[in-house]
């Protein structure tokens, strides 16, 4: 994929959120996106046709993160009301609410079988919630973090959390081991490479760091953007060739994965680009901003 193939052309602008949009996520096949924001709603869109499909309202405060199940039938969300919501996508009803976090919940993810929701909270913990049983108690609380956990990633066997204490902690369920990679800088967002070998960690010193998961080695640092006070998302393109991330000045940056050079940057929003999500297959990308818009980018 060359630089020309990067999604840099604005294809659609999705407007509907009142106030900042805090998160935007593609679904598994990339046909729909979910967004969530300060207006306490979650919205389902078709980004390719620019249609707003559904609004999910139940959160009491801002919604910070949202995630689809792999089969797109359920979704989970979390936010400032310290709860994790487990929704049915079609009916728009809340199936379950998981209470227990002692603080705002920053991030939420389904596991592979969509049987567990793992949430990361301001209360310095990761909590795993059971979607199968009717128990509202967490299956497990991981509270080894020393500060607010900002982001969580799940693999088939691992739970990975990034925290403001500067660590990326990998909890391997198979062998019962916690691996803590201390980066020295508050970690804002972690995202897995598509091959699962690397973790991209967005740090609050305006640097994205690429870690080798097996060795904990720092592979590369990506700089140029500003990220000092917001929780900004970063991710890799679907072919792992480029790293992309938003900036607090409304720009979007593309870095070459290997040599870390900024291959492209352009102004996408008028305000902070809070969230970014890359299409699982195509050269398409959605970004969300504090200015209340979601933009779809294509080549």
């Amino acid at each position: 994929m060359s630089v020309e193939d990067l999604p840099r052309k604005e294809s659609t602008v999705l407007k509907g959120h009142d106030g900042a949009v805090l998160g935007v996520r593609f679904n598994t096949d990339g046909n729909y996106i979910l967004s969530c924001g300060k207006d306490r709603t979650i919205r389902l869109w078709n980004p390719h046709r620019g249609i707003h499909i559904k609004t999910y309202k139940s959160h009491g405060r801002e919604v910070r993160d949202v995630h689809f199940t792999p089969d797109n039938s359920k979704l989970c969300s979390c936010g400032g009301d310290r709860q994790v919501f487990y929704w049915d996508v079609a009916t728009g009803r809340v199936i379950r609410k998981f209470r227990g976090h002692d603080g705002e919940v920053n991030a939420v993810k389904f596991n592979e079988y969509s049987s567990v929701v793992v949430s990361a909270g301001y209360d310095q913990s990761l909590r795993a919630w059971d979607c199968r049983s009717h128990s509202t108690e967490p299956i497990q609380i991981i509270d080894t973090f020393a500060d607010s956990v900002m982001s969580v990633c799940l693999t088939k066997t691992e739970i990975i959390g990034g925290s403001v204490d500067g660590t990326v902690r990998t909890f391997d369920i198979r062998i019962g081991r916690e691996t803590s990679d201390s980066l020295g800088q508050p970690v804002n967002c972690i995202s897995m490479s598509n091959d699962g070998n690397c973790i991209l960690a967005g740090c609050l010193d305006s640097t994205l760091r690429l870690l080798d998961r097996s060795t904990g080695e720092l592979l590369q640092e990506y700089k140029g953007h500003t990220n000092k006070s917001y929780k900004l998302d970063c991710c890799l393109t679907n072919n792992d060739a480029y790293v992309t991330g938003g900036s607090e000045d409304g720009y979007i940056y593309f870095w070459d994965l290997v040599d870390a050079s900024v291959v492209s940057r352009f102004r996408a929003h008028t305000s902070v680009v809070t969230s970014i999500s890359y299409h699982p297959k195509e050269n398409c990308m959605v970004t969300a901003s504090v200015d209340g818009t979601i933009k779809v980018w294509k080549t």
């Binding site: 991981i142 500060d147 201390s182 904990g216 929780k231």
Partner: protein, 995 residues
């Protein structure tokens, strides 16, 4: 009529054929008879002899009924194997009764026929017959490689007779003679005699031919089995019978023909030796029967009586032995020609009987002589290059010819030569063809100027070859080997050695440095490119010496050539400096390369430098000040990312949900994680009963307590300089008190403040409510603020309380470093505090709007802290720092993990054990005193007194309030106001944690 049918008349009783008739059968019969008698016709049921009902009626399976009761087959009455013989009579065999019998009938008949069961078929004839028939049948069905019936003759199915089986069971193996062990003297003697006879027998091969014989040399045709076998091995027996008896004699009748080979031999022998009458008789018989009968003996098994030796080819020819000896006796006076015979036999050994080695075979191995290798051939393969010119290149260069006078022609020739060199010979041919008529291009076809053209072409080719090589070398530095000897010689000979003077290195090093220079210089292009490096690519302009070194480095790096072992130009630099410089060079070179090879030359060094955090800063200027940055960054680089591993126990349900096997399945729950080395030390060294009694959660809590205390101890030890006396006093106390201090701590406090407790609880609730409210307000306020400003939080806001883990970490590291010399304690604490500030800032921003509440709190608080921190005198400063530290630790929930902190705190641990009392008081001070630092001076005496009191009170016992006193510890009603904010923030969280 009806009555007639109803009444059957029975005569006699039915015959019971089998005694063991099943009861069912009996019953059926009885029933049926009874039925027949009693039931009306329409109710009677027809059953078979087994008593099964066979007629079911049309609706319940009439077919089945008919099938079973009428005919034995689906086909009904049609005979199974009937074929009309009308059309193809030939095919129809003689019909037999068996053809018309059903299977069961055949089975019935089984016992009546006489036949040998294959089991007892000693000779295998029957079995073999059957097998052969089978094979025949099969043969007809499948196509065979060899057409006709021949294969069946040759390949007989092997069957094992009972005799063979028995022998095998008795330990006989195939290929061994049975009578082997019985070799007695007599036998031997006879054998000897016979052998002698045999030797005589083949005495004169030439004479042995009789007229009637079709084949001339018998001894050649038929190998002699006796001798043969003797030589080979005395034990071999043929495994299967090859040929059955085919002559007209009865079994065992013919005395002479038991072995055709013998017969032949004998015949020849006799004919040669004896009188014609006898021999004629013999030979005639031979001719009559011998040839017909084939080569082997009649098929006959091994007889038990067999005394025959293995020499005889056919072991089965048992009965003839007697005759054989008899004959032999007759033939006794035969001549000896053993040697000859043996030779023959050996020669024929490998052949099949009946075959002989052809004198000239059809098949001949074709052999080709290896090609003659010219003497001057060198076994070296030259790979063809990208263009075919490469081959020419190695040829002898055409002589240098002066250019033709016509300058136009000269230019033309040169141009064509260049083109041809570049595009290959094809171009030459093409242009020659095209310009055949053009006199100007005569030189191509050998006209005027051809020689000059040839020379030019060669030169151009030379150049062309050099170029790709050069490119290659740019990529792969050690490409020197490609140089031809000629060019190298040129290089070495022609180039002046001017640069050697610059080399400060030793003389022997200088030679290869020179060489290197010249090597690089041969690559004209690269040399040129480096001589004219643009200014932007001269990163060390300010330092010409360095720039020079850098250039050389570049040459070494990219242009190949030998590396000089001693770094030539930087002779006076230290190893470390050189290494660092090398790193710089690498970085710079990379940057330049990038600038060159990247998309356009727009990426200049400064921009491309950005991604190299460490070394790049340095080469922009030789000044010293960026070095500091470098160092700190290096430190960072060394420290981060840092990997640690811990035990972690996933809950079994989580494993189940993730579809994984619980790694801890069946194992007891793990001990709460050890958070620091201190913990292990504490728990291992002092075995305190109370520890065991504690519930796991409580224990965990205690760990954090310990850590807190330790932390306090650290800061305390800073203040130690001032209060040495205290230390002395407290050294007396025993280490166990540490635990008392920890575990009874709360109750002590509680005891004291028992009276205040209730009001306090209420107060707390109110506080929580207030906090929530204020958070909401603050949150909203800052949200709106953030919206407007894009959340630019004032950067210089002091923020000492929310110390991130990093800050703590750094501080502690520094503290630890300073620990040995306790004198520096104060300064260090100050430094660390200051150091912590900027980092705190980061955290304060960390999650944007989400954390505004704490920021708000800090803003409120900042003023007072600030004044405290800065304005008070030195001693006070340290104290306030300490206090801040305390607060920090409290605010930061216990989880503020001290894992990182674990490194070598043993000294502190000791110290702490010495002074458990001490820090306990301190804690109390922080908690319950009205917290002005000034009162701190008196704390030791005061707290001591209080402690006594409290311990007395403790005996009275007030444990039941244990839940509340936990809160107590973190909170005091009389605490200074500016802390209340953050305290409240963290408070609910803590409460929850504890539960």
């Amino acid at each position: 009529m009806d009555s007639d049918e109803d009444d059957f008349v029975f005569y006699g009783t039915p015959i019971q054929r089998e005694e063991d008739l099943t009861s069912r059968k009996k019953k059926a019969i009885a029933e049926s008879s009874a039925q027949l008698r009693t039931l009306p016709a329409w109710k009677q049921e027809v059953r078979d002899e087994e008593g099964r009902r066979r007629f079911h009626g049309a609706f319940t399976g009439g077919y089945s009924a008919g099938y079973y009761n009428t005919v034995g087959s689906k086909e009904g009455w049609a005979p199974q194997s009937f074929t009309s013989s009308r059309k193809n009579r030939a095919e129809v065999r003689q019909q037999d009764i068996l053809n018309f019998l059903d299977d069961d009938e055949k089975a019935e008949l089984e016992g009546r026929f006489l036949g040998m069961s294959s089991q007892f078929d000693t000779f295998g004839s029957t079995a073999a017959e059957v097998a052969r028939k089978e094979a025949e049948k099969e043969q007809k069905q499948r196509p065979s490689i060899i057409p006709g019936p021949v294969p069946d003759e040759i390949v007989l199915p092997a069957t094992e007779s009972v005799g063979v089986k028995l022998l095998l069971k008795m330990g006989w193996t195939r290929g061994r003679s049975i009578k082997d062990s019985h070799a007695d003297a007599l036998y031997d003697a006879r054998r000897q005699g016979r052998r002698a006879l045999l030797a005589f027998s083949s005495d004169d091969p030439k004479v042995k031919i009789s007229g009637s014989e079709p084949i001339k040399d018998d001894s050649e045709i038929f190998p002699e089995p006796s001798v043969n076998d003797d030589i080979q091995s005395a034990k071999s027996t043929p495994v299967y019978v090859l040929n059955p008896k085919q002559d007209l004699y009865g079994l065992g009748f013919d005395p002479y023909k038991y072995a055709p080979e013998f017969r032949e031999k004998k015949r020849s022998r006799i004919s040669s030796k004896m009188g014609s009458g006898y021999s004629k008789n013999f030979s005639s018989r031979d001719s009559l029967f011998g040839l017909k009968s084939g080569k082997s003996a009649p098929g006959f098994g091994i007889g038990a009586l067999e005394e025959l030796d293995v020499e005889d080819e056919d072991v089965y020819a048992t009965g003839f032995e007697f005759e054989d000896t008899y004959v032999q006796e007759v033939e006794e006076p035969a001549k000896l020609s053993l040697e000859f015979q043996k030779k023959k036999d050996q020669k024929d050994q490998g052949n099949l009987p009946g075959f002989r080695v052809a004198s000239n075979s059809d098949y001949q191995m074709e052999r080709f002589e290896a090609p003659l290798i010219p003497k001057d051939f060198v076994p070296h393969h030259a790979f063809s290059g990208p263009l075919e010119i490469n081959h020419k290149n190695h040829g002898i260069p055409p002589p240098d010819v002066p250019a033709p006078e016509d300058s136009n022609l000269k230019i033309l020739i040169e141009g064509v030569a260049n083109l041809v060199a570049r595009c290959g010979k094809l171009y030459e041919d093409l242009s020659r063809e095209k310009n055949q008529s053009n006199p100007l291009f005569n030189f191509l076809s050998g006209g005027t100027g051809h020689e000059y053209y040839a020379r030019k072409l060669w030169e151009a080719q030379q150049k062309c070859i050099d170029q790709p090589k050069q490119q290659l070398d740019e990529k792969v530095p050690p490409g020197v080997k490609r140089l031809t000897a000629e060019s190298r010689g040129q290089i070495l000979g022609e180039r002046p050695l001017e640069r050697s003077s610059q080399d400060p290195s030793s003389s022997d090093a200088s030679t290869d440095v020179q060489l290197q220079f010249h090597l690089t210089d041969t690559f004209i292009k690269s040399a040129a490119s480096f001589s004219e490096i643009p200014d932007s690519e001269r990163p060390f302009k300010n330092d010409p010496a360095k720039q020079e070194r850098f250039e050389q480095f570049l040459k070494e790096k990219y242009k190949g050539g030998l590396r000089s072992t001693s770094s030539s130009l930087a002779g006076d630099m230290s190893e470390a400096a050189r290494a660092r410089e090398r790193l710089d060079f690498e970085a710079a070179a990379e940057a330049i390369e990038k600038g060159k090879h990247g998309k356009g030359n727009k990426l200049l060094i400064p921009s491309s430098m950005d991604f190299i955090p460490g070394g790049v800063m340095q080469f922009t200027s030789g000044a010293a000040e960026p070095k500091k940055d470098l160092q700190t960054e290096d430190l960072m680089g060394k420290m981060y990312p840092k990997r640690e591993e811990f035990q972690w126990r996933p809950s079994s349900l989580l494993c189940k949900r993730f579809d994984l096997i619980d790694p801890y399945m069946g194992k007891p729950p793990p001990a709460p994680r050890i958070r620091s080395k201190i913990d292990t030390l504490i728990f291992t060294s002092d075995s305190v009963k109370s520890n065991k009694v504690e519930k796991p959660i409580a224990a965990k809590q205690d760990i954090s307590h310990v850590q807190e205390t330790v932390n306090q101890d650290i800061s305390k030890s800073i203040a130690e300089n001032e209060a040495e006396v205290d230390v002395e006093v407290e050294n007396i106390e025993r280490p166990v008190d540490l635990y008392k201090a920890i575990f009874s701590d709360d109750s002590d406090d509680e005891r004291e403040e028992l009276n205040v407790k209730k009001t306090e609880n209420q107060e707390k609730k109110a506080e929580v409510a207030n906090t929530a409210l204020s958070r909401l307000i603050a949150g909203d306020f800052l949200e709106s603020l953030g919206k407007e400003l894009g959340l630019e939080v004032p950067p210089d806001m002091p923020y000492p309380t929310q110390i991130s883990r990093n800050a703590v970490l750094q501080k502690e590291i520094i503290n630890e470093n300073a620990r040995p010399g306790n004198l520096m304690g104060e300064n260090n604490s100050e430094i660390s505090q200051n150091h912590g500030l900027p980092n705190d800032q980061d955290i304060a921003h960390e999650s944007g709007p989400s954390k505004v509440d704490t920021i708000y709190g800090n803003m409120l608080e900042s003023g007072s802290t600030k004044t405290k921190g800065t304005n008070i005198s030195n001693s006070k400063l340290s104290r306030s720092n300490r206090e801040n530290g305390d607060d920090d630790r409290k605010l930061k929930s216990p989880v503020t993990s001290h894992r990182d902190y674990s490194s070598s705190l043993s000294s502190e641990e000791e110290r702490k054990r010495k002074r458990p009392r001490h820090h306990r008081h301190r804690r109390r001070d922080a908690g319950s005193d009205s917290s002005s630092g000034d009162e701190r001076d008196h704390h030791s005496s005061r707290s001591k007194g209080r402690k006594k009191g409290s311990s007395e009170e403790k005996s009275r016992g007030s444990r039941k309030h244990s839940k509340h006193h936990k809160h107590r510890r973190h909170e005091s009603p009389s605490r200074s106001s500016h802390h209340s904010m953050e305290k409240d923030d963290t408070h609910p969280r803590k409460e929850k944690k504890r539960r």
